[in-house]
């Protein structure tokens, strides 16, 4: 019995620390990393946008549609931004200008976005990513040609053999961090999310800021979503984000609204999500009941709950941007 436990743990560890697992977990976290940075920027402006899933799908379908019809990567990304940005714009009009409840607006965007995306996507569901674009993402720009020794081989396989999309995602998180904490515009964004009335009275154009970052955040979600049909899968399937947009909302809390931590957070969530698949392929583990596929897919959410509880014990921990959920109207009090 105890021996079984140890050998099971051993198999699990050997999966988790294998270069191939790490590499696929990284690849799998790209969508969530873009999404988390995007949602985090939105929340920093004081708006919780639950429409991430919808925006991801909008970005994915519009971008993929453009890619298939034009074979242009530039147009694909542009249209992913337009699609998701359009969804975010609707959300911004509802919550900033019309001061509709943020949860309601976000949920509506999720449902509406998915519907629109699926109907558009069905037009390109039988085509695959154009060759010229697929070729770009076959390249592994940082991969070593002949790594010497087991260590470098491991590093190479786990971290350096990714396409450019992956590194751009990490770069976006780094840039967002610098922006948020080291620039004046970032400071203005943070103040807006902390205390909109104070920001307004300080001469900050809060409405403009909210619109801008809600839309920018939406666009990042869209670019994240585009990764799925364009690179990861190479074709369109309806509802292909499969709940990652919801995980993102939890991830933002998990990483305490810090883009740099989002890199690690997205990785953890990404690996938990694919752990289910890997375990299934392992004969030893797949026979153990708790490694059931359905239970495994619960792990990211379980982790979120655990983290939230842990944080609630730290009374002094910053609870996130104060203005989240509160509509702002200057003449109101």
């Amino acid at each position: 019995m105890i021996g079984d436990f140890f050998s099971a743990t051993g198999s699990l560890l050997s999966i988790v620390f294998s270069a191939s697992f790490i590499a696929s977990a990284i690849a799998f976290s790209v969508v969530m990393l873009f999404g988390t940075v995007g949602e985090l920027i939105t929340e920093r402006a004081g708006h919780l946008n639950l429409g991430v899933e919808g925006m991801m799908l909008l970005g994915a379908s519009m971008g993929y549609f453009a890619a298939v019809r034009s074979s242009s990567l530039f147009l694909a990304i542009l249209f992913a931004c337009v699609g998701a940005g359009f969804g975010a714009l609707l959300y911004a009009i509802l919550t900033v200008t019309l001061r509709v409840n943020q949860n309601v607006a976000g949920l509506a965007l999720s449902i509406f976005g998915a519907g629109l995306a699926n109907s558009l996507g069905s037009k390109v569901s039988n085509t695959s990513t154009p060759d010229n674009i697929a070729k770009i993402f076959k390249l592994k720009p940082f991969s070593l040609s002949s790594p010497s020794g087991p260590f470098l081989t491991f590093i190479n396989k786990a971290f350096l053999s990714h396409n450019i999309y992956v590194y751009v995602a990490v770069l976006v998180a780094v840039v967002a961090t610098v922006f948020l904490f080291k620039t004046r515009a970032g400071l203005e964004l943070r103040l807006t999310g902390e205390n909109t009335a104070a920001a307004d009275a300080s001469g900050i154009k809060v409405t403009r800021i909210k619109y801008f970052y809600i839309i920018l955040g939406g666009m990042l979600c869209g670019i994240g979503g585009l990764y799925l049909p364009l690179v990861q899968q190479g074709s369109w399937t309806s509802n292909m984000t499969a709940g990652q947009g919801w995980l993102v909302v939890a991830l933002v809390i998990f990483v305490r609204w810090h883009p740099i931590k989002a890199i690690a957070g997205a990785y953890v969530f990404g690996s938990l999500t694919i752990l289910g698949f890997s375990v299934q392929l392992n004969e030893r583990l797949s026979s153990i009941p708790i490694f059931n596929q359905y239970i495994m897919s619960m792990f990211p959410y379980l982790l979120t709950v655990v983290v939230l509880i842990a944080f609630s014990f730290r009374k002094k921990a910053w609870p996130g941007p104060k203005e989240i959920g509160r509509p702002y109207f200057r003449e109101e009090r």
Partner: protein
């Protein structure tokens, strides 16, 4: 002292025919108001007379429904607070506008505009320097901000989060925030309501200095003596209309009150005799409390209160008054000591049980927000919040509550369009009256009134004093925690002086002086004082 203003100068700003309507409430009606450069101009009026509204219009927060604003002779149409800042207007709001989780520096710097390039003006260079490092390496901005604030004799640590600053430091941050934005028209909305007398004095020095440099200053206060000593002119608002502007030197306090209220009112406290039976209501024995950082707040404090008597509590800010109130009300648990009401121990009981034992408390905190009201509910429902615990049966009788609400509105003269109007929309002073009225109407045995008149206009303050006296005549035991020593002496029967959580002694108000209380507040016990006197 001659005011350093010249009558022939162009006003720093002038507002003409300003009207502002909120739904059913006409907050400002055709108000005219102008202030000259170098002048400290008081804006006076009862709670809800529209002072804050008028100044919010000037600072671009509210758009007026009618009227015109001129700054330095130019007609302005402010579409946002940013526009007003660009015209040199800076406002320190009645309720501060700071992000608590962010540092003072971040609060100050966010939204500041770059000064014109290549400007060689001293301030512009400093501003440019502050901005350059503001977000990249805040530690380099701190000394620059200190340098700027020390010019006005203001001090605070720019590197700590706003939540850790004291109220007066927060105010300093707000002042520096607007000054660094180049404000030369400064609006202070009840700045002294939250300050100790010493802090207020320091603020006045700062304001005088700024006025002498040509700033136009609008000063809102309910304290007439402050207006008399600090200001050059005063404009009185009544029910949203501007009544009169005059030189402070030409008018006395009584005339001002009459203009404010619209009729002569009696500003004296007639003190009924305390109940001679001296029956003990509250007994506090050896109360000791240290806060979570182990700072001692109450130190072996003992005293008793009697039915039909008002016991005053005097002391410097932070002398343990708050902790005393909270211990009695059951909000905090003292480490040592006992509290008894009617010889029954109440230490350790829940706040609700203590309320049921007949203890009512009205505590107005320094920031005057979060005072135990639900902002979006009407007066009636807010009364119900406390009331329901005392009624029997599962059902609520709304009719009773409404009658009670109407009575409170009438008695305390609360300005509201109706008892269902959300309290959040009331003016600061009126919100406070709601709390007080609610507590009084619980018919308590022991009524704790802490800083009950903070931010109240004079008329309402006297209404409150009279209400407390009425309670005393109804044989309620009243514990009154106050700041104004004159009022403490006029209102209370006995006065206990606290200093760093210790009882310095209890004096009879008819046999004491402000000086004596002042000495005790700074740490001399009554015994030492009396001994000192006998030695002479």
């Amino acid at each position: 002292m001659e005011p350093n203003i010249r009558k022939d100068t162009q006003p720093a700003f002038s507002m003409r025919g300003i009207t502002k309507i909120f739904g059913a409430v006409v907050a400002n009606e055709a108000v005219d108001f102008e202030v000259l450069p170098g002048e400290i101009h008081a804006l006076l009026g009862e709670n809800g007379s529209g002072k804050s509204t008028l100044m919010n219009v000037l600072s671009g927060i509210y758009r007026p429904d009618e009227g015109q604003i001129e700054v330095n002779g130019e007609i302005k149409d402010f579409r946002s607070p940013g526009d007003a800042i660009d015209s040199g207007i800076g406002m320190i709001h009645q309720h501060f506008k700071l992000a608590e989780a962010m540092t003072a520096t971040d609060n100050i710097v966010a939204g500041m505009k770059k000064p014109p390039k290549n400007s060689i003006k001293k301030d512009d260079v400093l501003r440019a320097n502050i901005l350059r490092y503001a977000s990249r390496s805040p530690s380099k901005t701190h000394p620059k901000i200190n340098e700027f604030s020390s010019r006005f004799g203001i001090e605070f640590d720019p590197s700590i989060p706003a939540s850790q600053l004291s109220v007066s430091q927060k105010q300093s941050v707000e002042i520096i925030k607007v000054l660094l934005r180049g404000a030369n028209i400064l609006i202070l909305d009840e700045p002294t309501a939250v300050l100790t007398p010493q802090e207020a004095k320091k603020l006045f020095t700062v304001l005088r200095k700024m006025a002498s440099q040509g700033c136009a200053i609008v000063f809102i206060s309910h304290k007439l003596n402050e207006i008399m000593t600090l200001c050059d002119r005063v404009t009185v608002l009544r029910k949203g209309k501007s009544i009169e502007t005059c030189n402070v030197s030409d008018i006395d306090a009584y005339d001002l009150v009459e203009k404010m209220v619209g009729r002569k009112i009696n500003l004296s406290i007639n003190k009924p005799d305390p109940d001679p039976k001296k029956q003990v209501c509250l007994e506090v024995k050896g109360l000791t409390y240290s806060d979570s950082k182990a700072v001692p707040k109450l130190d072996n404090l003992s005293f008793t209160t009697h039915y039909g008597e008002i016991l005053g509590v005097a002391g410097l800010a932070g002398g343990g008054q708050k902790e005393l109130c909270e211990s009695i009300a059951g909000i905090i648990r003292p480490q040592q000591g006992e509290i008894m009401v009617d010889e029954e121990r109440i230490t350790g009981l829940s706040p609700r049980d203590i309320t049921q034992k007949g203890v009512a408390m009205c505590f107005i905190p320094e920031d005057r927000l979060g005072m135990g009201l639900v902002a979006s509910m009407g007066i009636d429902e807010n009364i119900l919040l406390k009331e329901y615990a005392l009624t029997k049966g599962p059902l609520i009788r709304m009719k009773d509550v409404e009658t009670k609400a109407e009575k409170i509105i009438k008695e305390l003269d609360i300005k509201t369009p109706g008892l269902k109007h959300p309290v959040r929309m009331l003016s600061g002073g009126n919100i406070q009256k709601v709390i007080l009225g609610r507590e009084i109407h619980l018919n308590p045995k022991l009524m704790i009134a802490a800083y009950a008149v903070r931010g109240l206009d004079i008329h309402s303050s006297y209404t409150i004093y009279n209400l407390l006296n009425e309670q005393k005549q109804k044989n309620v035991s009243v514990l009154y925690i106050g700041e104004d020593l004159d009022v403490l002496i006029d209102l209370c029967d006995r006065i206990m002086v606290l200093c760093q959580g210790k009882n310095m002694g209890i004096v009879d108000s008819s046999a004491t002086t402000k000086e004596e209380i002042g000495q005790m507040m700074s740490g001399t016990t009554l015994e030492e004082l009396r001994r000192g006197v006998s030695y002479v």
